[in-house]
Symmetry: C2
DNA sequence: AACGATACGGAACCTTGTTCCGCTTAGCAA
DNA sequence: TTGCTAAGCGGAACAAGGTTCCGTATCGTT
């Protein structure tokens, strides 16, 4: 992590509030543009979307690649942080798991172009996949275990299997209108349920 | 195939001799530059290497991608054509097979960057891999079967297995100085030999 | 030898990543 | 509140690479 980030779960730190705000704005804008135009979208488009100058982007992210990586990590982070929050706020562990998986699927489908970045052997991208797993698997496991402990879901599978299952259902989404990954995942997650009968 | 190419095994046809010559020169120059600098080498470098202007490149290959594809096919083609030629000129089918496999390995190691092109989902690159197999497997089989028929090599494996074996030995070559794919392949091919004892 | 079609070279153009620098402004001190 | 100053900002300018265009040179034919 760079020098001006708080630890896990923190938010960009900086002397000046506007700088912090801009960095956040940029990450959001970049994410939006990446979804709309793919990860190859020009830096200028992101600057425009964020309403900032090119210089501002390059101060926060020295190269284009740094921005892509930051967006990816930012999204993984957001997804990870949502886990405990949902667990605390939802009516039941199962509902929390269900909602979290929706976020997760959003991320998977959205990252579309980011997947190719993961494969790339360009400098700086190689550790993203392991980061992804390291960060999200424990979160998924926490939610899943909580639901299992509450007797709401079957427990004859692992959190890893669940994540893989969801992930695989999302493969090839986007581009095939006849295939709704979100719906399939919903079916899968419904299938987890242990109905009291 | 474009409109001004002869059929399989042919060479570029064109009204004017200089145009034909230039196309050939370009393919060679591009291959050379790709090996030296990777498939991302600038078009200008290729023009310089070939000693022609940019316009010449773009007349023969409407886009950069067309050039890459043409080089790839050109090399597959050259490799394929070499098979029967070697069979006719070599001292024995086994020696022909051995020499052909050297060419094949050259191609594999050389295509290095081209491999990434094969994976790419950019327009125009998707059919290259199947072209590769369709064209080269029969050639390899012809040489292998000839050597087998002459009793020079063991015949308890298929040409496909041989190609896969050689291909796999070449994976990860280039970039690891401690690994010499060429030598390993030589060992493998030597192992094919049925020594009269 | 002359001529028309074909091909050539490379300057010019466009897009995109990156750098640079004068101007603005947040945060602090008096 | 008012200055002060360094952190930040915007965007023009630059660099690099793909692509286009067109005046010129060359080929093949008559």
């Amino acid at each position: 992590m760079s020098d001006n980030e708080a630890g896990v779960g923190g938010v960009a730190q900086s002397k000046r509030a506007d700088a912090r705000r801009n960095k956040e704005t940029l990450l959001d804008a970049a994410a939006k543009v990446f979804v709309a135009s793919g990860v190859d979208a020009p830096v200028r488009d992101i600057a425009r979307e964020a309403g900032v100058g090119l210089g501002t982007i390059y101060r926060h992210f020295p190269t284009r690649a740094d921005l892509v990586i930051a967006v990816y990590r930012h999204q993984v982070e957001a997804c990870a942080e949502a886990g405990p929050a949902l667990l605390a706020s939802s009516a039941s562990p199962y509902m929390a798991l269900r909602e979290w998986i929706n976020l997760f699927v959003d991320f998977l489908v959205t990252k579309h172009g980011l997947a190719s970045v993961l494969r790339s052997d360009s400098a700086g991208f190689e550790s993203l996949h392991s980061y992804f797993l390291d960060r999200l698997l424990p979160v998924c496991a926490e939610l899943f275990d909580a639901a299992a402990a509450a007797g709401e879901v079957r427990s004859d599978l692992t959190a890893y299997e669940l994540m893989r299952g969801v992930g695989n259902l999302c493969v090839g989404a986007e581009g095939d209108d006849r295939y709704d990954a979100l719906r399939l995942v919903d079916v899968l997650v419904s299938g987890l349920r242990l109905l009291p009968d």
